[in-house]
């Protein structure tokens, strides 16, 4: 199922990106909380009141919930640092499973050995998911320590953010699986990245359109970002965990299904000579 040599190679390939995302996510919660603490709660509530009512729908949670220490920490999860970090990891690593090494020409020397294509694919997919889990582990640890020892020490329960971090991992898995599927069918990594960027933008727009207008609510359901709402998962109730289970079932389900479909396509397709 997995190949040890390919496993080592995959980690060698992804270690720099992983180090970059881990560094970013280790520092970000501390910086974010420090910046948030510079704005007193009263002023923050004033700012929120200035936001037009229609725009408030975009937050996904009642504005009153946002104007609490927990709500303000939770907003960190929809910051581009987290969303883009998760997407970049998923798309970059997923797109490098087949079309990347195929384009670089390194795949054919690997596949000339008695190694199953599905083993190569599954090993890269597993390394991508585990790399994502490590990044999320660091994010969780950083959130915990920043909340426990940062400017709002004692005001917020750090354990409330575990479901939100798991939702980020769900998004990473989803993006990696879809990128892996596109990569398995193509011969150029840049095409896979381009398609995934398009998918990201369309998904984001679909969610926004669905949120902004009741008439187009159905459009919103076409977006995978409907299952990425970490800011709604910080209530600390059983419902948060159920909601997480639903969201991650969708995201991880899409991701793993895409990985399986990609493995099948890769196992059956022709491998052209590298250009």
């Amino acid at each position: 199922m997995f190949n040890r040599a390919v496993w080592h190679q995959a980690w060698g390939d992804q270690k720099i990106l992983l180090a970059a995302i881990v560094s970013l996510w280790a520092a970000f919660p501390w910086l974010y909380l420090w910046l948030q603490s510079q704005v007193p709660m009263g002023d923050f509530q004033m700012i929120l009141k200035l936001i037009p009512e229609d725009w408030q729908k975009l937050s996904g949670v009642p504005i009153a919930d946002v104007a609490t220490p927990v709500g303000r920490v939770a907003l960190a999860f929809v910051d581009p640092m987290i969303v883009l970090g998760a997407t970049v990891w998923g798309v970059t690593r997923g797109s490098d499973i087949v079309s990347g090494p195929l384009e670089r020409g390194t795949l054919e020397m690997v596949l000339a050995a008695p190694v199953r294509r599905t083993a190569v694919y599954a090993t890269h997919a597993a390394a991508t998911i585990i790399g994502g889990a490590i990044a999320c582990g660091v994010l969780l640890a950083s959130i915990w320590t920043a909340v426990a020892f940062g400017p709002w020490a004692g005001k917020v329960d750090p354990s409330l953010f575990t479901p939100a971090v798991l939702n980020v991992l769900g998004l990473m898995t989803c993006m990696a699986g879809l990128a892996g599927l596109v990569s398995a069918a193509g011969s150029h990594r840049s095409h896979a990245i381009g398609i995934m960027c398009g998918f990201y933008v369309v998904s984001l727009l679909a969610k926004l359109v669905g949120r902004m207008s009741d008439r187009f609510e159905a459009v919103g359901w076409l977006s995978v970002f409907n299952a990425f709402e970490p800011q709604r998962l910080v209530a600390g109730t059983a419902e948060s965990w159920w909601l997480l289970a639903r969201y991650d079932a969708i995201l991880v389900g899409i991701g793993l299904s895409a990985f399986v479909a990609g493995a099948i396509i890769f196992a059956r397709r022709d491998l052209p000579a590298p250009l």
């Binding site: 190949n3 040890r4 040599a5 390919v6 080592h8 190679q9 060698g12 390939d13 670089r104 020409g105 390194t106 054919e108 020397m109 690997v110 596949l111 000339a112 050995a113 008695p114 190694v115 199953r116 059956r268 022709d270 491998l271 000579a273 590298p274």
Partner: protein, 296 residues
């Protein structure tokens, strides 16, 4: 037969890359595969390795079907691609260690020995290696296996003459310990020097197949006559033939003939021709190749 193909065909839409290719490679042979770019050599090799699915026909290696038993095929094959590309972030040593881990029957010691022999500095990062060094590194990884079939697609491309000679020696040594080698190349002199038998491909099909020994026995006779050429006597028709398409044959007083075997039966007849000048030379692979790819 170690390798056998039966009407193996690969089409991409209307384009036929390999057209009903039927050939066999016996065990223990160094088998040369010749042809210009686009003749179907690499397509044939990729079909044998299972990288491509055939449109029709079959190919087998050690009785394993290349399309349906690719894993079994690849466990018996070591393959050097035409332009081997390796992991650029790794050092040469790391690349060799990677392939030793990837392939149970691959020996890191053997790879290192080949690298030393080729004068390759394996401590250097692949990205800092020249094209020739990368080619040598890939060859080290390939020759470190004990695969019974070694497929080399233009193994000496980008190598200097010393390294080329060394590579040919390594190929011959691999063959001497019982390995079968498929040697695809554009360099006719190398194929002639290293191979036991050769197939020339044209437009996706094998158009000529002969042992190098037989090719060496043949002779080409180029003559300018005082009178128009009267044709080959019926009695000698089995021994000598006009070279089809040779430019000299356009002029009635110039003629190019090829004798496949000994010249002895022809000497009496040649002496009777009204010869102004005549050259007799061994045919060699170049002349055979030119017959199919340069009109003779």
């Amino acid at each position: 037969m170690l390798v056998s193909t039966d009407r193996l065909t690969k089409r991409y839409g209307r384009f036929t890359a390999l057209d009903a290719c039927t050939l066999t490679v016996p065990r223990g042979e160094i088998f040369g595969l010749l042809g210009p770019n686009g003749a179907g050599k690499t397509t044939l090799l990729r079909l044998l390795l299972g990288f491509l699915a055939p449109t029709s026909g079959t190919g087998t290696v050690a009785s394993h079907d290349c399309a349906t038993e690719s894993l079994a095929v690849r466990s018996r094959v070591a393959y050097l691609p035409g332009e081997a590309r390796l992991f650029r972030r790794m050092t040469g040593k790391e690349v060799l260690a990677f392939f030793a881990r990837l392939r149970p029957a691959c020996s890191l010691d053997q790879a290192t020995r080949v690298a030393d022999r080729l004068g390759l500095d394996t401590s250097r990062q692949v990205t800092r290696m020249s094209t020739g060094m990368r080619q040598k590194l890939a060859l080290c990884a390939v020759m470190a296996t004990d695969a019974e079939l070694v497929i080399l697609d233009e193994p000496t491309a980008n190598l200097d003459p010393t390294a080329r000679a060394e590579v040919l020696d390594i190929v011959r040594e691999a063959n001497a310990i019982g390995r079968t080698v498929i040697f695809s190349s554009h360099v006719l002199s190398e194929v002639e020097e290293a191979c036991d038998r050769v197939v020339i491909m044209r437009a996706g099909s094998p158009v000529f197949e002969q042992s190098i020994a037989e090719i060496r026995r043949g002779h080409r006779i180029t003559a300018r006559l005082a009178e128009p050429f009267a044709g080959i006597p019926t009695l000698l028709a089995d021994h000598v033939a006009l070279v089809p398409g040779a430019a000299e044959n356009d002029s009635r007083n110039r003629v190019v003939l090829e004798a496949a075997e000994s010249l002895a039966p022809l000497l009496g007849w040649l002496a009777t021709l009204p010869v102004i000048e005549m050259a007799i030379e061994p045919i060699g692979l170049t002349a055979v190749y030119d017959r199919f790819h340069r009109g003779g």
